[in-house]
Amino acid sequence: MNVLLLLLILMVLAGLWSILTSLLLRATIALALTSVLLTVVMFQMNAPLAAVFELSVCAGLISVVFISVISLTHRQPLKEYLARRQKRILRFWPLPVLLLVVGVGLSFVHRPVHIMLPHPTAFGDIRIMMWQLRRLDLFGQILVLLAGVYGVLILFRGNKNGN
Amino acid sequence: MIIAIILLPLIAGLISLMVPDRLKGVKEGIALFSTIIGLIIAALLFKQNIMFTIPWLGFGIDLSFRLYHFSAFILLAIAGFGAAISLYSVAFMWGKEKLNQFYAYFLLTVAFANGAVLANNLILMLFFWEGLLLTLFGMIIIGKKEAFKTAIKAFVIVGITDLCLMLGIALTGSLADTFTMSMISLPTSGLGALAFVLLMIGAIAKAGSMPFHSWIPDAALDAPLPFMAIMPAAIEKLLGIYFLTRISLDLFRLNPGSKISLLLMTIGALTILLAVMMALIQKDYKRLLSYHAISQVGYMILGIGTMVPAGIVGGLFHMINNALYKSCLFLSGGSVEKQTGTTDLSKLGGLGKQMPITFICFIVAAVSISGVPPFNGFFSKEMIYDGALERGWIFYLAAVLGSFFTAASFLKLGHAAYFGKSETANKTKEASWAILLPMIVIAGLCVLFGVYNPLPLHALIQPVLGAKLEGRDFAGLPTNAIIVLITLVVLAAAVLNHWFGVRRTGKGIGAADHIHYAPGLSQTYDLAEKRYFDPYDIGMKIANWLAKLLNAVDKAIDWIYEKLTVGVTFAFTSAIRWSHSGNVSTYVVWSLAGAAVAIIMVLIR
C-alpha cells in the first residue's frame, strides 16, 4: 500500500511537471514518465493488460510522435521565452495548490466505498473477449481508424503542396 | 310647415356655405330671405298644436316634433331675432372675411335651435343641441386670429356640459322607459334627482350660467359681434331656459320646497351677484355686456328655481325681456364699434350727440335691464322678487343687490360711452339704417312689453304654466307695493353711487372705481381678472398637469420598451460576446464547472 501511495504521489508530481514546464521537450518527457509510473501502478494492481497498453501506446508511441513534431518547430528567442515562462507560472500556480486542497479535503471525508466489481468471466484472452462480446465496438473502432486515415491523407497532402 | 322651419335655414345655410366670397350680396340675400320667411312661418304656426312623429332609429328614438304654445313662442322669438340680426349682419359684416362661413353657421344655428325647440324626443333634441355646439365653435373661430383659444375653451366647456346632458338623457330615458318628452314625468328622488341635475347642467350651461360661463366674456372680444347678439344674448338663453323650464315643469315633478329648487335658486343668486360684480369693473363695452348676459341668466334661474307661479312667470318673462334688451345692447355696441372702430371705454366718449338714435336705443335697453319702471325689465324683475321673497329673504337680497350693481354699471357704461369727450367723438357719424332698424324695433318691443305687459304675459308666457298658474294673473301693475318701493330706493342708491364715483374720479369710466379698488375686493378682482376663478382655466391647469404626468408615464413605458428592453438585451449580448473570448481553456473551465454543478444538483435532489 505504501509503495502504491508513493507511486501515485510521484505520478501526480510528474503530471504537474509536464504541465508546468515551459519547454515542450521536457513536457513530453514528463508525460512519458507519468505514463511509466501509471504502468507500474497498474502492474501493482494486477492489471497487466492495461499496463502493457499504457506503456506501449502512451509512454512509447505518443512520445515518439510528440518528439518528432517538436523537432519540426523553431526555437523561440530567449527574451520571448523568458516572458512566456513568467506568464506560464502565473497562469498555472493555482493548480498545485488546488490539488493539495482537494486531496486534503478528500482525506477528511474518508468514506470507504464497498462495491462489488463484476466477476471476470472467461476473460482468458483479450482477443476472445473482444471478439465475442464487443464486435460492434470493433466495427466502430474500424470507423475511427478509417476516419484517421482520411485525416492523415488530407493533412499529408497539404504538406506536400506546401500550405 | 313644422319641418320647413327647420329645413329652410338648414338648406339656406348649406347653400351660403357654397357661395364664394366673390359674389357679394348673394349670401346676405339668402340669409335675409330665409330668416324673414322663417319669421312668417313662425308667426303662422303660432297658436297651433301639431304633433309629428316618424319612426326613426328604433329603440324609442323617433323623429318626433311637437308644436304647442311654449315651443311656438320660443320659435317665434328665435325667428324674430334671426330676422333682426340677419338684417343687422348685412350691414355690420359687409366686406369682411369668411362671410360664407359666418352666414352658414348663423343659419345653421337658427335651424338647430328650431329643431331643438320642436323636438319631442330627447335623443333628437340632443342631436340638434350638439349641432349648436359645432356652430358655436365655428362662429367663434372665424373671429380674430386669437379666437382659436377661445373657441377651444367654449368647445371644451360646452362639450363637457353636453356630456352631462347626454348622461342625463340616458338616465332619464332608462328611468322613464321612453325618450318621448311629452310622456315623461319623473319624481326627483334618488336617481331621478341625479338625472335632473345632469339635465339641468346641460340647460343652464347653454344659458350661460355660472360656473359654465367663462367662455362668454372671452368670446365677446374675439367673435364677430352679431354672434354675441344672437348666440349668448338671445338664442342660447332662450334654448337653455326653455329646456330648464321643460324639465322643471314637465319632465320632472318638482316641489317648491325641494332641494333641487334650493339648488337652482342658489346657482341663480350666485350667478347674479358674481357676474354683475365682474361686469361692474369692465372697461370694454362688449365685455361688460357679456358679464351682464351671464348675470341676467341668474335672474331667470332664480325665478324658475323658486317653483312658485310668480317666480316662474317672472323668470320666463325675464327670459324674453332679457333677449330683447340684451341683443339691443349688443347691437348698440356693434354700432359703436362699426362707427368708431373700438369698444374700449377709455377711448370712447361723447357719442350721445353724434349717434343719437343708437344712444336712445341704448338708453331704452339700459333702463330696461336696470329695472326702471315702466320698461319691461321692471315688471319681470318685480315678479322674480316676489317669488324669491316667498322662498327666502336671502335670495331676494341677492336679487336686489344684483339690481343695484346692474344699474350702477349701466350708468357707468352710458356715461363713459355717450357723455364726456373723446378724440374720435367729433368725426363719428350715425350708423346706417340697416344697423339702426333692428335696434329700433327691439327697443320698441322693450317699451311695448313694459307699458302693455298683458300682451306678452297673456299671449306668450302664462299659457306655458297652465294649471300651475293656480288661476293667478300677473299682468298689469305689480301688486306688492313694498317691493316696488325698495326697487326704487335701490335705483336711487345706484344713481347716488354713480354720482359719488364720478365726483371722486371725475370721469364716467371711473364711476365704479371705489368699488373696484375697495380693500379686500381689489385683490379678489385682480385674481378674477387673471382667471384664477375660471373653472375652465383651473380645469386646464389640472388637465395639463395630468397630461404631463401621463406623458411621463407614457414616456417611461416607451422607454421600457424601446430603450430598456433593447438596452438590456444588447448589454447581455455584448456581455456574452465579451465572455466568448475564443480561449479554449475558458470553455473547458465552463464545461467542467457546468458538469460540477450538474453533479451537485443531481446529488442533492
Binding site: 462495491i115 460492434l136 500550405n163 | 467542467l592
Partner: protein, 468 residues
Amino acid sequence: MNYLLIFVPFIALVLVNLLPKKLRPISSFLVLLLILAAQSIFAALAPFGLIRAVGAVRMEHLFGFHLLIDNLSLLLLLSAGIVGFSALMVAWHSIKDEDDRFNFTNLLFILLIGMNGISMLRDLFSLYVFIEAIAVSTFIMILLYKAREAYEGALKYLILSVVASVMMLSSIALFIMFCGGTSFEVIKLSLVSSGALARIAIALFICGLFIKGGLVPFHGWLADAYTSAPAPVSVVLAGVVTKASGIFTLIRLLTAVIGFSPATKDLLLIIGAISIVIGALAALGQKDIKRMLAYSSISQMGYILVALGCGTRLGLIAAAFHFLNHAIFKSQLFANAAAVEEQTGSRDLGSLGGLAQKMPVTGITSAIASLSTAGIPPLSGFWSKLLIIIALWVSGNYFYAVIAVLASLLTLAYFLTLQREAFFGQVSVKVSSVTEASAGMLIPAVLLSAMTVGLGLVFPFVIKYFVR
C-alpha cells in the same frame, strides 16, 4: 434492413475506394446520393407500415450483436438522410477540388454509418465508440481545406470532445462498476436500486452529451467549429451531427435507460432555458451569418431540451418534432449561407444587403426557414414550438413556458436582423454584380423549404408519425 443501414454504406465505401482513381469522385458521389435517398425514403415510409424490416434474426446470429429500429431511430435516420443529401448537393458545387470532394464523400460515408449506428444501438459503450467515430470524422471534415481558422475550430472541438470523452468514459466505468455491464437492459435493471454513485454516473454522461450537443455552458467549441467549417460540412454538422451525438443520444438514454427523475428534469429544464436565452442573445450580436446561425442552433437545442425536461409524452413528441424541424431548417439556412458565401465571397452582414433582388430563390427560401425557426404559422417550426410550449404549460413549468415564448421573440429579432441586413434593403456595392447561385446549390434549399411548408400545412397528418 437494420444491418443493411450500416453495412451497405460500409461496403460501398470500401468498393468506391477500390475503383480506378478517375472514377472515384463521381461514383462515390452518386452511390452516396443513392444511399441517402433510399435511407430517407425508407425512414419516411417505414412507420406507416409500407416497408418492413426483415431478416433480423438471422443477421443477429451472424454478427453476434443486435440492432433495433424503433420510431426514434427512424427519426434520426430520416434526419440524417435528408441533411446528408443536402450537404452532398452543396458539396458537389462548393468544393472545387476533386480530391477534396472525394475525401468529403468518404468522410460523409463514415458519418452516415456512425449516425445510423447510433440510431439503432442498445449499448452504452458502443454508443460511445460510435460517437467518437463521428467526432473524429468531423474534426477531419472541418480541416478539409486546412484553413487557419479551421485548425482553431477543429482544435476547440477536439479539446472539448476529449473532455466529453473523459466524462462519458468515467461514467461508463462507474456503470460497469455497479451494473456489471453496459447494455441498456443491464443498466436499467440495476438502476432500480441505485445510490449516489449511479446519479453521478448519469450526470456525468449527460454532461458529456451536453458538450457534444453544444449546450450552454458546454458550448464553447460550437460557434468556432460551425463557422470555420467548409460550407457543406457546416450543413451536415449543424443539421444533424451534433444533434445525433448529443441530443439524440440523450433522448435515447432518457427514454430507454435512466428515465425521468426530478433531478434530471430540473437539469434538462435549467440547461435548456439557459441555452435558449444565451444562444438567442448571442445570436443577436453576431455579424457573421454562420456564427449567428451557430448560436441560433444552440438556442434551438435548448428548446428541444426543455421539451424533454417536461418528462411527459407530449414533451417527447414535441422534442422529436422539433428535432426533425431543426434538422430541416437549420441545414437549409446553412445551405443558404453557403450559397451567399459562394456568390459574394462574404458572410459579413455589414457588407451585404439587398441580396434578395440578386438571389431571389435564396432570399425566399431563407426567409421561409427563418420564419419557421422563429415559429411563425403555418410553417412547421410553429407547430413544434407550439407543442413545446403547450407541453411545458401542461406539465406545470409555467416559468419555462414564458421563457420559451419570450425567447421566440428574440429568435424573430435576430432572424429579422439577418434578413434585413443580408437580403432586404438597399443593394450594397459589394453585391451589385452578384448572380443567383447554381442550380445544385438551390436544389437542397428549395427542397428543404418545401418540406418546411409542407410539414406545416399537413401537420395534423404528420404528427401521427411522432405519436406512434
